[in-house]
Symmetry: C2
């Protein structure tokens, strides 16, 4: 495969000195198609598929023991891009370690993005994706924000579906379990200047998951502290980039140390509610006139445009049972509504966790803290459970729905 | 080496299926010391040193052809950490590719940090570091912010000096050239939950560099646009983390497309001047009373605490020739001073570029743009050149100075 001159030299040096047998995406001796001009996309029909022989396949974990993100299926998808040659032939092959130069951009400047998707096995045994075209769209938006190349999203989706089809035995069938799908994309040019990478690697790994929280669907408790800020206008909070997550790790540690499960991210002097942990957030409350309203913060540039978020908005607007608003909501409004008994439910939502009810907010500011109890589980509406049921009925094919895409 | 159970299982699976021969930091068959309890640091005296045989060493590039970050010396330092076992035996070995599981945290959540340092060869042939203890301090601050483990900074510095000593032939001797040193540290636990890594990898690579800008010391032109924000209060702008750099790549692309070399990062409604590209910034101007003042933005949480920045402050305060201020300075103040002919110089500073004079700012706001010419090169003071000379005299050992640390 043709790569840039710098990479050829650097990798050549490592090869010559015996320290690098191959980069994972440039196996030696493999015959590649001649590339006449840079290829602006890979295509599904070009897939090179290498199936793991049965005796080398892994043992599948017990369904009951499934923890999030700790088990991986047998195969992965990959394609490699260089500025000079465009996209390489796409490949589905056994999951393998990635080899990269220690100066690879992704390891220094976080030029990296990902997506989170799931494949669900219905009672009919069929496997379905949930609105995958929205993940493709978001992935390409993320790539553009990072200066990474693009590709045809339809071709990528076809490759991804083929991967799930090949590992379909890995899609678990116990309730609320699924095959988590992780597209990942980063820059690998092995040079140290802060600059866009001239080489990039796109891959997909998958793995069976149970419920996101080991404790099951119990309401979560949140740390809300305005001193920690997840995203800012002019930043990247509305893209799914690795760089949005690294800064949250130490804050999550702080939450852990207080016995709280997630962080409620606030923004600005009025302490706007933005997101919770790695989820979007909804507040279901009554106005002073008693009118019920489901509120989520608007996509103002600091909110991740979640696919479950959008689906909750779509379905509840369709129900037409109460007012549904994308509008700012701040801690003072929430606290006032709580004091007046007008808050009915709060919940987070995301692909990994689905719908996650919120039971408590530990609100720390100006040197003191208040424990706010959210009566989500006592709500007569049980809106979070109703949304969850509607979602899972679509995802697991209990009902036919255009949001569900069958794999085979 | 002992690793966590999840890694043992995942790596074991890859090994069994023949796709991973070894993780770079856990060579098979290597005998490791028994670890009785988690080791809170590695120590220099434990170094395991493997020297590249002479016939496998790389050819050194011509000094004239040195580009920043594109050439690497023969050896690297590395140590591996797990939550269960602490730090592994530190190692200096030939530079090699890193192998990691495709679910490694660094590739998804940007749990990664780095440092930038240089070793300078003086006319006396001796090799010196510049204030390396400040890099050690900053590295540990970065690690804490990311939830990565710490270690004894003195021991790390000793290991790093040993690495430079081993590759001392790689320290170039042409004017303004040096050996760039890149400590890098990231999380590698191969699981997909957003959480602090239970395993981490620390390494150092080095490489000969010439001047940072291929064009030599010519004044740079900057794009200033308040719609782009590098860092914010409650974020990580004051730490040297990969996640601070990824979002800048697309903005740099915008600057490139306008024929500008770097981005001037503004903050807030008053357009405070914060940093330039990957450098700190200084403005040398006269007050309305005619008093000269050297200004740099204060370390308020959104500014990287640069080591050259601190050195410029230290030396100019020591000179006592003009007022030296760490205070906010915004675009309106700069523009007014420019209009009144009171701006004498502007320059960026950093380890990679040293001192970089600024000649022009393309200031875009509210749909129109102004070209601001900065008379840095016409200044009678030539302060940037004077600072540069003082710095390089210390770095290259022309004068004896406590900021300079000899390697051998």
């Amino acid at each position: 495969m043709i790569t840039t001159r710098t990479t050829r030299r650097l990798v050549g040096e490592l090869l010559r000195t015996g320290n690098l047998r191959c980069l994972s995406w440039t196996p030696q001796g493999e015959v590649k198609r001649e590339i006449a001009r840079p290829s602006h996309t890979f295509v599904h029909d070009d897939l090179d598929i290498e199936i793991q022989p049965p005796h080398l396949r892994q043992k599948k974990p017990e369904s009951a023991a499934l923890q999030f993100g700790k088990h991986f299926a047998d195969h992965m998808f990959e394609s490699y891009w260089t500025r000079d040659s465009g996209w390489s032939q796409p490949k589905i092959c056994p999951v393998h370690a990635l080899q990269m130069h220690p100066a690879a951009k992704v390891l220094h400047y976080a030029q990296e993005l990902f997506e989170g998707m799931k494949a669900f096995r219905g009672q009919d045994g069929r496997v379905r994706l949930f609105r995958p075209e929205l993940n493709m769209e978001r992935l390409l938006n993320s790539a553009e924000r990072l200066g990474l190349p693009t590709f045809d999203p339809q071709e990528f989706l076809k490759c991804l579906m083929r991967l799930v089809e090949i590992d379909r035995d890995w899609v678990p069938s116990t309730p609320m379990s699924s095959l988590y799908i992780r597209p990942t994309f980063f820059g690998v040019e092995p040079t140290l200047g802060v600059a866009r990478s001239s080489e990039a690697f796109l891959y997909v790994i998958t793995g069976p998951v149970g419920a996101y929280y080991a404790t099951g669907v119990k309401p979560v408790s949140l740390l809300a502290d305005p001193q920690y800020v997840r995203a800012w206008p002019g930043g990247t909070g509305d893209k799914k980039l690795g760089c949005n997550y690294a800064p949250t790790l130490a804050v999550q540690k702080e939450a852990d140390s207080l016995g709280l499960q997630q962080v409620l991210w606030l923004f600005g002097p009025d302490q706007q509610i933005t997101e919770v942990g790695a989820m979007n957030i909804f507040v279901f409350l009554r106005s002073k006139d008693g009118e019920p309203e489901l509120v989520t913060p608007p996509l103002s540039g600091i909110i991740l445009p979640g696919i479950v978020r959008r689906s909750v908005l779509d379905m509840t607007r369709d129900w037409n049972l109460f007012k549904v608003s994308e509008r700012p909501i701040c801690m003072s409004e929430l606290r006032e509504a709580l004091d007046e008994g007008r808050v009915m439910e709060m919940f987070g939502c995301g692909t990994a966790c689905s719908i996650s009810p919120i039971g408590r907010i530990y609100h720390r500011q100006n040197g003191h803290a208040d424990d706010l109890l959210i009566p989500t589980m006592q709500s007569e509406w049980q809106l979070h459970a109703r949304i969850m049921e509607t979602l899972t009925n679509i995802q697991y094919g209990v009902v036919d729905h255009p949001w569900s895409l069958e794999i085979d």
